[in-house]
Symmetry: C2
Subunit: 411 residues, 2 copies
Amino acid sequence: MTDDREGHPATGASAPHDGAATIDRFCGACQRTVLAEIRHILGTQRSNHQELDELILDYPLRAAKGLRPALCIATARALGSSEQAVITSAAVVELLHNAFLIHDDVEDESQFRRGELTLQRAHGLPIAVNVADGMFALALMALLDNLELLGLRAALAIFRQIVDMLWTTVGGQALELGWIRANTWQFADYRAAYEDLVVRKTAVYSFVVPTQIACVAASAAPEHAEALAAFARHVGVAFQIADDLLNLRDDTAGYGKELLGDLWEGKRTLILLHALHTERDPEIVREALAILGRRRPASDELRSELAEVAAVVDDLHASGHLDGVGRTTVLAALRRAWRARPERDVKTPADVRALADLIERHGSTEFASSVARDHVRAAEQALASCHRGLASGDARDFLFALPAYVVERLR
Amino acid sequence: MTDDREGHPATGASAPHDGAATIDRFCGACQRTVLAEIRHILGTQRSNHQELDELILDYPLRAAKGLRPALCIATARALGSSEQAVITSAAVVELLHNAFLIHDDVEDESQFRRGELTLQRAHGLPIAVNVADGMFALALMALLDNLELLGLRAALAIFRQIVDMLWTTVGGQALELGWIRANTWQFADYRAAYEDLVVRKTAVYSFVVPTQIACVAASAAPEHAEALAAFARHVGVAFQIADDLLNLRDDTAGYGKELLGDLWEGKRTLILLHALHTERDPEIVREALAILGRRRPASDELRSELAEVAAVVDDLHASGHLDGVGRTTVLAALRRAWRARPERDVKTPADVRALADLIERHGSTEFASSVARDHVRAAEQALASCHRGLASGDARDFLFALPAYVVERLR
């Protein structure tokens, strides 16, 4: 390849065939640099608290792809800038992502993250919340270091992007939490509602901001920055749909989260929204909404303990210590105690099965897959439109391979 | 008063007698301006989410003194600057303080804050965590506005102070959480350990940073900035000791938190540390440490439900449906169910009473009061040392009245 501006026409047809290998190679190299940078940032500050330092590194050190910082570095390099110019910002993006993960895990009471116990399961809620606060503080301190690295104008522009991103992400989270509280599932245009949520909650921080930081550092032309933002938005939506689809798979290999967790949680996925909006029987919709209005049960530790008490009561009845009236009465009292728990009106495995059946009946996973592929194509087109501004090489290859890659995980 | 540099000699003897009225008047005026500024900040951003906007204002709108922003404004004005120069920073300090309160309430699982339900009790943990994130984001956006208001150098200096403060506060919190996890209560110098914790966890963000922001805005002489920082550190320690003392009072009027909550939580107070280090009987110390190693019980909703089941069992026994062996067996099973809860090995009211007795026996509240008064005197001396840099008027009166005021609540 001698011409560094050719090779990826608008169709994306001549993108590297082995996209996954391209992505993996690039991410692997970036991840080492980014982790070294995070350690450097942590080393230059002194928290005077070894455990805090260690726990700030806990999630970032767990096996993960590191797509976000890799996207930032790839965009910067494809635009003709250096990795060095964005390495601090890329590390900040990764730190903030991991802080969001801690908050997500706390909010969802999740048990596992990347195949290990979540921070709040391993160390308790107070430490988890404080570690996330530490990551926010550390990220902000690192951004101030950009002043020396990039000069005032660029450093402040990146700062503003990060701060606006925090606000946007919080707004997206508030939108979803409002829907959860009101059990809102029906929309005039459910696809638009879903895409709007995903852009605000995930795509902006995970994909748009990493590219836009790179555009600032590389002084990209406004039309290139706009095209890259559109590219990133579409990749982000495709990524989230793929993530939702993976959650429904029977196969947990390579997926560190809980299977069907989204159905237990009642997460607004395009899949579930499609099933609800396609179902024509109002009675079935009503029942599905009732299920979705139930909370997921907390730990069933106590439930099994009460079941043990019930077994003791049965034994006593069988051995003649307790008569039939007594047995009925004690069991009724146990049921009342169970129902009085805050976890009453919770989803059952049968509820979750009913939701999975509804999804299957309406071909909702196929629908969601096809929408994800629409976004892959739109992303590829947006990238092709600024193709002439991107230098050839592994960084540009990464960008062209990314859209297909984020849904590739489905095959 | 014609001479604006006289009237408050090093002894503080001629400070206004009615300090509480001085403080209340000044805080009241500041609080109105600060709340208007927070509303203004929120209004210039668009979260597109009305509930998020409302919940961001929830804690700030609850009845509170607003000491932190008032201290910032008073220091700026006493140094010859204007309220306008620090109003945004003062609003940021208040926003961050309220975000910390949300995190504290989440971490401590507190029920009440300023006499109303805590945010996570009223709206659930996910919304509470997200609202605090929103307040952080909003605070950062407001700090960027300082660039226009104060110019680059001052705005960046204030930014760095706020960011360093976040890191310091997180470090202080980590220190305390580490002590809680390891049940650490014994120190070579417990007073120094306590003061170090309180400075990092509370005094820096509540008192030192508000004065130092004002010093930046007013371009204060370095020696004045140092004296004001020392003043603020001593006020902060006195404030925290007074807060701890209030928590032990029988009288909850004017105190929106839970009575004896610190003993239930096992908070490291100077009072409790004094009692433990003064007690000479190792057996009593051992028992107190065992109590402090127990967690506070969660809501006892379930306990009462299980008590109801036990009552049913007793009734059945009395009416002949259940024999004595059966009764003993069912009650034992219920006790096992109770103990199997995550809340096993919790503090009892008798435990908390034993701690309160230990404190009383050793005169630990009197000791803590005398240390608080030491800090009041040290604060007054530090302020007097930069007296000549402070213009007379209600702002300076506020500063001179503050040290005595923070312990005044005890009388």
